[in-house]
Amino acid sequence: MADKKIRILLAKLGLDGHDRGIKIVARILRDAGMEVIYLGLRQTTGSIVAAAEEEDADAIGLSMHNAGHLTLGPKMVDAISGAGLDIPLVIGGIVPDEDVADLLSSGVTSVIGPGASAEEVVAIVNGAIATRERK
């Protein structure tokens, strides 16, 4: 269905309360024509997986600013596959370049680094969704 809007689920996993970035990303994706479901702060892998299933999300986006990405990223990947879902996971925030490869090899689909432009954000999300469609 070509005219179906992309649905992306955004959330903050864990205790990290930095939400400036994810709110901007939400508006960027909405302006790009996507349907954005923002779950808000203090989500668990369980609450995110449940919402992704219920909302029929095409992608999940998490924002991390507390250096917990190497622990929480793989945990989220496991929770998604553990629920039998095949949904690309995009992580944005303060992720040092040298951690990107580790995240990708753990099953995170794409990473958005600090300072990415709106176009880059949209392209990365679209790219992440396209990887699933190719499978």
């Binding site: 205790l15 309360g17 939400d19 400036r20 040092p96 709106a118």
Partner: protein, 549 residues
């Protein structure tokens, strides 16, 4: 016969008298080329004179430089203790503690919420034992300590008091500040535990306790820093912060506190961003607005209760991950704005903070940056050196005008009460909405190239992602901290802990009683931070923010 003095001459004469009785630092107050300079220029009211637009002290930095207070915290308490000692050896004059996310949220390191966060963004504190290690070998009667914590602030203050007591230092000797500004948590930083009203009760209890027992302690640091970091404009930062201050004042007055007694121990915390003149106007306006409202609206008569004394931190959000070393220049400019704006203490950010917590080298460069501003630029010779400049005076007025508009809106929301208006603004999403709008507007302008951020959307050559040396917190920190917590739980007297927690819940149910003594008793028997938080949650419930984009 003497000639009648003009009003300005009278102000100048009064200022002179105060200035002449001040102790001055033993340095030449002259330019680098040897030209002697006056302590202040232009018209009054002069520094130290109501409404303090030009500074809160008559002699400003000629008497005492700002406190160079570098915020530090990572890993275990021992790790941070070493960094503290390093900063003190390097000429830092106050300590400032960054706690990790679980600690900030009232959770222990062994909570399922803490996974991956222990010791990452600050130091992990679970029990009094960690606090003992954090300050080991540091004379708490001599340093002043700032603790950046809000939701569980009462517990951390209790631990600090208990550590000092063990070292033979009484609560009355302790100098410092605890952030304890819960209102901005709902607006910007989002580190809350309980809903706003019970949180306000805890703060009022802390104000009462410190007023009685800790005369050198600042029980609330009303903070705009995080509001700005979350994306607000300079005027919003100013207005939301001062309005939060008014709300605390209204709450304390309602609880029967004397405005002069607690008013003089309130302090503020602002951001210093990159728009140099806007920042200086903001700092000047803050002092003027606070003095006027405290005097005229809340009836303060003690001058000290009218002074907006503030800490400043350079803008973390302005730092770029691209070409991070150029952040040193940004921090230098922001630090100079803070000095010209008359700050009482300053944290300068490290250039690598857009990437990770600062390395020791980066933190040293940041401290050196403010030392250059203090000792090499001459900016400290003259109080309010930009006062009287048309642009600076206009900017100060403009910041005040925008802030007053926001106060009016909050008063409308609260039917004449800023406190009620603030509760309402939290509930109806006013603050988060305004901040998110401003953040998005700025981001769009950067994205469209209307605003240039050097190294990000222009002048992007020269970045070297491979040449970076970042601070990494090893996973061992988490294991170590978990083991430590387990040991404490085994060693402590569980019966004492259970009783102390039950007592907190009971005190919480009675608004006429003060929570502080019960919390101090609990930390002394090694109740954990989370246990203490939970003992209050039973009575107060928790706060969940509505997710709005």
């Amino acid at each position: 016969m003497t000639e009648e003095k003009s009003p300005n001459e009278k102000l100048k004469a009064a200022w002179s008298e105060q200035y002449n009785s001040a102790n001055l630092r033993d340095v030449p107050f002259e330019t680098m080329s040897g030209v002697p300079v006056d302590p202040v220029y232009g018209d009054g009211p002069y520094p130290g004179q109501y409404p303090y637009t030009r500074g809160i002290y008559p002699s400003m930095y000629r008497s005492r430089l700002w406190t160079m207070r570098m915020f530090a915290g990572f890993g275990t308490a021992e790790d941070t203790n070493l960094r503290f000692k390093e900063l003190l050896r390097n000429g830092g004059t106050g300590l400032s503690t960054a706690f990790d996310m679980p600690t900030l949220m009232g959770r222990d390191s062994d909570s399922e919420w803490a996974l991956g966060e222990v010791g990452r963004a600050g130091v992990a504190i679970d029990t009094l034992a960690d606090m003992e290690d954090l300050f080991a070998g540091i004379d708490l009667a001599k340093v002043s300590t700032s603790m950046t914590i809000n939701g569980p602030a009462a517990t951390l203050l209790a631990m600090y008091v208990a550590v000092a007591e063990k070292d033979g230092v009484s609560a009355s000797q302790l100098a410092g500040t605890i952030q304890n500004d819960i209102l901005k948590e709902y607006q910007a930083q989002k580190e809350y535990i309980y809903p706003p009203r019970p949180s306000m009760r805890i703060i009022t209890d802390m104000v009462k306790y410190t007023t009685a027992e800790m005369p050198k302690w600042h029980p609330v640091s009303i903070s705009g820093y995080h509001i700005r970091e979350a994306g607000s404009t300079a005027a919003q930062e100013l207005a939301f912060t001062l309005a939060n201050g008014f709300a605390y004042v209204e709450a304390a007055i309602a609880a029967g506190q004397n405005v002069d007694e607690f008013g003089r121990r309130l302090s503020f915390f602002f951001n210093s961003h990159s728009d140099f003149f806007e920042e200086i106007g903001k700092f000047r306006a803050a002092r003027r607005i606070w003095a006027r409202w405290m005097k005229e609206r809340y009836g303060a008569s003690d001058e000290r209760a009218m002074l907006c004394r503030f800490h400043t931190q350079t803008a973390g959000v302005s730092l770029t991950a691209q070409q991070p070393e150029i952040n040193i220049a940004r921090v230098g400019i922001q630090a100079l704005a803070a000095a010209l704006g008359g700050t009482q203490s300053l944290h300068t950010d490290s250039f690598d903070e857009a990437l990770a917590l600062p390395t020791e080298d980066a933190a040293r460069i940041a401290l050196r940056t403010q030392q250059i501003v203090a000792h090499e630029t001459g900016a400290t010779n003259v109080a309010d050196p930009l006062g009287g400049a048309p642009y600076v005076e206009w900017m100060t007025d403009e910041m005040e005008r925008q802030a007053e508009e926001i106060f009016s809106h909050l008063e409308d929301l609260g039917n004449g009460s800023i406190l009620e208006g603030t509760y309402e603004g939290i509930e109806n999403g006013y603050f988060v909405g305004e901040i998110a709008d401003a953040a998005y507007r700025f981001e769009r302008e950067v994205n469209a190239g209307q605003r240039i951020i050097v190294g990000v959307n222009e002048f992007t050559e020269g970045d070297d992602p491979d040449g970076r040396n970042l601070l990494r917190i090893s996973a061992e920190t988490e294991d170590y901290q978990l083991k430590r917590l387990q040991d404490i739980k085994l060693r402590r007297n569980q019966k004492d802990v259970d009783l102390s927690l039950k007592e907190i819940t009971e005190v919480a149910s009675d608004p006429a009683r003060n929570l502080m003594p019960a919390i101090i008793d609990a930390v002394k028997v090694y109740a954990t931070e989370e246990e203490i938080s939970d003992s209050m949650t039973k009575e107060f419930g928790t706060y969940v923010e509505k997710a709005i984009v």
